[in-house]
Amino acid sequence: MNLQIALLLGQDGLTNGAIYALLALALVLVFTVTRVIFIPQGEFVAYGALTLASLQVGAVPGTLWLLLGASILVCIAEIATAIRKRALRAIPRLLALYLAAPALLGLATWWLAPLKPPMPLQVLLTLALVVPLGPLLYRLAYQRLASASVLVLLIVSVAVHLVLSGLGLLFFGAEGSRTPAFSDQVLDIGTLRFSAQSLWVIGASGCLVAALGWFFGRTLYGKALRATAINRVGARLVGISTTLAGKLSFTLAALIGASSGVLIAPITTVYYDSGFLIGLKGFVAAIIGGLASYPIAAGGALLVGLLEAYSSFWASAFKEVIVFTLIIPVLLWRSLGKRQIEEEE
């Protein structure tokens, strides 16, 4: 391995690491707020990438059907709740939110998709189709189980992952897709050559992290989420509803996932089931951060990205095994740091 290759791999590692960092952020967020270990995080990446790919060939993405179906189910569930609580006045709002809005989005997609709109519009449409799946999913799969044990929530997550990857195969087929790069430029610095797309990824990740930092530090909803993450019961006592916090964190997780998907779509070929491994690596990074600390999780993500890049060079067949096995010493080092016999909730 010469320096050129080492640097190239390093660039690769950093690009992937940036994505894992984003996913790790989402996983930490969802876990601290809802105690859900969000295995389906990776599916949002795949859905984001593949939805964009569908739009680029001028097709109506299958994600739309999922969005409409899930909206209708949630609408029925919410209206049933409203009737049971005799809050009939809420019904028009529910209809507007869960039927009219998705229908409008559907019509817009139907009309825009064959016209092959410019790239920024495609990206926006992709996000509009994928991100609402987050809160819808929370409502359908998790809300009833908000107080269940971490184990039950984990199993539900695995089940949701199965459903979403099955649907992914149905919507997008077994072939992978790769979208054209946001820009084809390359940047030469000395002997180093950066592709513009990896700069895009790193830059956009940085912006997204900064935006999240602003959201959590400056906005009321962000602070409410932070409060829930630190103390769920306390947050509820001051009037932050568990459901709101759950939906909000799932919305952010979906936003992060879909954005990651859009960003990596031009770099790697994404298949309907690529999400699981990508998500798992984000999970590894999040675990390194102890599912609690954002900066350490981000650092862990870069480590995972680099580890993966270099091990794919040395022993590509063993790439995944190396990434997952080398994580054990890191975990051991982290959990040996403190002498403790923990309590389960």
Binding site: F31, I37, L140, A141, R144, L145, A148, S149, V150, L151, V152, L154, I155, V156, V158, A159, V160, H161, L162, V163, S165, G166, L167, L169, L170, L280, F283, V284, I287, L291, A317, F318, E320, V321, F324, T325, I327, I328, L331, L332, R334, S335, L336, R339, Q340, I341, E342, E343, E344
Partner: protein, 598 residues
């Protein structure tokens, strides 16, 4: 939970005979299906103990199944070793690997653990597929059939009997273990600190449970290899590991019968979906995985504790009618009393705390505190909220390590001892926030305190060779319950008791360990007047018996009337020490409690 394990051997045996006989008439398709359900039940039983009861989530069980299957497959084909010998070798190999993996990953706490199991689960699967001598991804074929005293077990129907005899044996063994000394320790593992305080070596028991689950999986793998007569890596993948976890959770992860139900429901559901869905929806896409996932979610939304509790609720009235008295667990009858610890000399120093300090970040919770507890006395540790009393308890009982200073127990420095070692020396404690296993009966909770007074392990428990000792432990627990005034509540679930009674139950549990020093953290909180008097009488009787008591309490009347001496703490330091009457008049103490008069 206790209600789920009544002893009704006759019914169990009858049902079992029926299942075995059914093998004669069932169509081959169902026999094969039941074969697999039996194999999965074995693995899931391990998970019930490991994940459901002990709270250690493992995605890696399929890898252990693979170890059992591949060891036997390789040795029987390459070296023509008898399958009965490879069974032993397979279990041995699994045990060694499980010990290494367990040692590495069980130290990972909480949510690190599932990821650790994913890591080695994937690695082992990868090894199966990439080692040339194991046949790579094509696997190993022509594995010999099992030979039973010259009779070959070849067909699925014959295997049906073998599998279900093994599965039933494992079921009974697991149920026996749960209802025994090691079983109580395993059920307490989730409440780590409390288990340690009762003398349970949590780290060791975690490994033991892990090993048990791995061996059951390996056994299932051995049966699988000789049933299928060929192995390849696919059934031992991470996906299969996830499926075993599905079975455990859907069935009801903390119940042995949940393993059977879970294995049956998941297996039948998948089979059924694979048959039905392509006819309904066509071949394109893989609908069964979608429907399967949706059904799992719906099932958990309706029954988050799994299906077995639902089934049991339905069955209970029927069982109660058919077998009268089947659901009531009786308190053990008379048994030989357990040996008692020698009491320290009255008046001699038993526990000495010397300049103990503990900081949390910048906060000095305990700061250079020294005091002595003598034999046969009650020492009260009082002080305003946040004075560091409970932290001092944690330091003495080994829950938290000391930053500096030393703690001597009968002259021996126990500062570096772990919690269960300290319990073994004869220091027992209760907790300010009650820590009980709410699903276990009061009697079993108290018996947990007597853990160190028994010695029966998993094997003896599984084979029910521990009954004499078990009767002794339960009798001791019953006596201590009666002493604490809870005799009438022995069979009640601990979680159903009033808070005051739960505190008394903690005292009974501590007493069951026959301690020389008893440390009570706010024992009178939540008690009514009469209960407080009864408690005071009990503590006086214990003192007269030669026990030393260290008491943290906010109820001044209670502690003043009871303690021989008092140590007053404020901001982690000793504010005053003396007899109750002196403390009552001490201006510094009055100042700390009532606020200064400017």
């Amino acid at each position: 939970m206790k209600g789920g394990w009544p002893s009704r051997p006759a019914w169990g045996a009858g049902l079992f005979a029926l299942i075995l006989v059914a093998g004669n008439w069932l169509p081959p398709f169902y026999v094969t299906l039941l074969d697999y359900i039996g194999l999965y039940t074995l693995v899931t039983l391990g998970l019930v103990l490991l994940t459901g009861v002990a709270g250690l989530t493992s995605f890696g069980q399929a890898a252990f199944v693979g170890l059992g299957a591949y060891t036997s497959a390789y040795l029987t084909t390459a070296y023509s070793v008898s399958p009965w010998i490879t069974l032993v070798i397979g279990l041995g190999v699994t045990a060694i690997i499980a010990l290494i993996l367990g040692f590495l990953t069980l130290r990972l706490s909480g949510h690190y653990l599932p990821l650790g199991t994913i890591a080695w689960g994937m690695s082992l699967y990868f090894l199966f597929g990439n080692l040339d001598f194991l046949g790579g991804h094509t696997g190993i074929t022509d594995i010999p059939a099992l030979d039973f005293f010259g009779y070959e077990i070849r067909d699925n129907r014959e295997f049906y009997w073998l599998i279900w005899v093994v599965a039933a044996a494992a079921l009974v063994a697991t149920r026996n273990i749960l209802d025994s000394r090691p079983g109580r320790a395993i059920r307490a593992l989730r409440a780590g600190v409390m288990a340690e305080a009762c003398g349970v070596d949590v780290a060791r028991y975690r490994i033991v449970v892990f090993l048990y689950a791995a061996l059951l999986a390996s056994l299932s793998g051995w049966l699988y290899a000789h049933l299928q007569r060929f192995v390849n890596p696919t059934p031992f993948s991470l996906g299969a590991g996830i499926e075993y976890l599905f079975m455990a959770v859907i069935g009801g992860a903390s119940q042995v019968w949940g393993a059977v139900i879970g294995a049956a429901v998941i297996t039948v559901l998948k089979q059924w979906l694979q048959d039905i869905l392509p006819k309904l929806l066509g071949q394109s896409g893989n609908f069964e995985i979608i429907v399967f996932g949706v059904l799992i979610i719906l099932m958990l939304q309706r029954a988050r504790d799994g299906l077995w509790p639902v089934v049991e609720r339905g069955l209970r009235p029927i069982i109660a009618r058919v077998v009268p008295g089947a659901t009531a667990k009786t308190v053990a009858g008379p048994a030989q009393a357990l040996a008692r610890r020698e009491r320290p000399t009255a008046g001699a120093a038993v526990l000495e705390v010397r300049a103990a300090s503990k900081n949390f970040g910048g906060l000095a919770a305990v700061n250079g505190l020294s005091f002595t507890v003598n034999g046969g006395e009650i020492l009260g540790l009082i002080g305003p909220n946040g004075a560091g009393k409970s932290t001092m308890f944690d330091l003495i009982s080994g829950v938290q390590p000391l930053d500096s200073g030393e703690i001597l127990y009968r002259g021996r420095n126990i500062g570096a001892f772990s919690s269960h070692e300290i319990a073994k020396l004869g220091l027992a404690r209760t907790f300010q926030h009650v820590k009980l296993i709410s699903t276990m009966s009061a009697l079993e909770n108290a018996a947990l305190g007597a853990h160190l007074r028994g010695s029966g392990g998993m094997a003896r428990a599984a084979l029910r060779l521990d009954r004499a000792e078990e009767a002794q432990l339960l009798a001791e627990a019953g006596q201590q319950l009666a002493r604490a005034g809870l005799g009438a509540h022995a069979t009640d679930a601990a979680g159903s008791l009033a808070l005051g009674s739960q505190r008394l139950l903690e005292i009974a549990r501590a007493l069951a360990g026959d301690p020389a020093v008893l440390m009570l953290d706010e024992p009178a909180a939540g008690l009514r007047h009469m209960e407080k008097q009864a408690l005071a009488d009990l503590l006086r009787a214990l003192r007269a018996d030669g026990m030393s008591l260290l008491l943290v309490e906010h109820d001044m009347d209670f502690v003043m009337g009871l303690a021989d001496r008092l140590v007053v703490m404020e901001f982690g330091e000793r504010l005053a020490e003396g007899k109750p009457a002196e403390i009552r008049r001490n201006p510094a103490v009055l100042d700390a409690y009532l606020g200064g008069i400017e």
